[in-house]
Symmetry: C2
Subunit: 266 residues, 2 copies
């Protein structure tokens, strides 16, 4: 089976760093280019056309950096634009939906899976389409949680009462159902994992980054080119504010150089 060299990983912003973190935790010696479209984040509330247009520019930028495979570390792009990206570009492209659905279908007992995500992700029906096609015995529900990303991006920790009240608001209705498996359909949501467990004790949570990183070497085998993982961090806004993030969730990221990218040119 063909092996691939440098991989590109992209997201609408910083949330994809949770996927990158999971990839780095599960692998050694990879060479990675990360692109975060911080000048145009968030993608979630935008229309499918706009999301697909932005995603094509993100891929073109990564290809200009000579990557040989691409990880779509963005729940929204994976839900909206994965097939059109695969049609247009001639490199392996892996998204978060297929691995997450495979992992959820493996563990559910009630066969009722719920996906939480942005407006665009939930309304795309990408998760239910894949689950219905591959696991027809499973039922799928979806819940939009549009305030989760702004809370995380603005430094509200998961033990903050405002965060807890918001998690309770969005997710409490799931307690009245037979859902036993919850897909965290957005790369930001691992930052809220303890708050979600408090509202939904006993439900199995699927972290899309972890699911993807476990599937990665099976679907897109990547060459180990060195001893340690290396990452170039590229962002579309000049100074990207990492400090907002709670880095205890991102312990496996190697240090790396940070570059600014004019993404409209691609």
């Amino acid at each position: 089976m063909e092996q691939y060299g440098t991989i590109g990983v992209f997201d609408s912003g910083l949330g994809g760093l949770t996927v990158l973190n999971a990839i780095c935790a599960a692998n050694e010696g990879l060479s990675i280019i990360y692109f975060g479209d911080t000048a145009r984040v968030p993608y979630g509330p935008r229309t499918p056309d706009t999301i697909a247009h932005y995603a094509r520019q993100d891929v073109r930028f990564l290809l200009s950096k000579k990557v040989e495979a691409i990880v779509v570390a963005c729940g929204t792009v994976s839900a909206i634009a994965l097939n059109s990206l695969r049609d247009e570009f001639d490199v392996p492209i892996i998204g978060v939906i297929e691995p997450a659905c495979d992992a959820a279908a493996k563990v559910t007992v009630t066969n009722h899976i719920c996906v939480i995500g942005t407006h665009a992700t939930v309304n795309s029906h990408a998760y239910s389409d894949y689950l219905n096609a591959n696991y027809p015995h499973c039922r799928v529900s979806g819940v939009e949680c549009p305030l989760f990303v702004p809370l995380i991006e603005n430094g509200f920790r998961e033990d903050d009462p405002i965060t807890q009240l918001t998690v309770e608001r969005y997710l409490a209705p799931i307690r009245d159902t037979d859902v036993d498996t919850l897909i965290l359909g957005c790369t930001h949501y691992p930052f809220l994992i303890e708050a979600i467990k408090r509202v939904l004790p006993g439900i199995t949570l699927i972290d899309i980054g972890v699911a993807l990183s476990e599937a990665l070497q099976l679907t897109v085998p990547i060459k180990r080119t060195q001893d340690k993982n290396t990452v170039e961090y590229c962002f579309s806004d000049r100074e990207t504010d990492f400090k907002r993030f709670d880095f205890q969730h991102l312990k496996n990221l190697p240090k790396g150089q940070i570059f600014a990218v004019n993404i409209e040119k691609y």
Copy 2:
């Protein structure tokens, strides 16, 4: 004094509709083009360079529609890029900062004014620079409220407990000061005016849209071209979701045609 015809009004998204509403409430018979950059909203967390680049594209689009004067109905662009827009373009351009500061300086008794806004607005020091230069007896404080826009954009009303807790979190510290006048330095904030009054009773609130609309005819006299106000609504994302908004705050907006704009071309 020269009189101007069609005016262009722009904002990063839908928040500028509160300014447009105030303009329509105070004037009759205007012809207006409104542009909301819903494909790239919000501007507030982005860097000054990116904000200025987006603002130039917004102005170029409005000039392509033959507007003769421009209202920057965006707190962030007014704070970051107003002077560079005035240097580059040869039409009158009015922002929200100068009228809001003039109105605040007129009513303050303690001479301590506080500005609330996005990260970019508060860190620009645009309000304090203007107030210090023109009203040196006034002191100015600033408080960032980055979650207010996402709350409003995601349909959280001002009487929602999550909204109230967030307003309390950001604004309660102002109660321990001698601030007596609060500039709502973001066009979304009028949607929260009752929640803000509850946390800060007795403080005078300056709505930047109302302050601008009162100053408009003095600084940029506009021709009354017809009986009623007419507005063309243009947005950079294909389907812009108006329903999220609480339209009781926007009663003076006339109905009008909606157009899609590819803003990256400008």
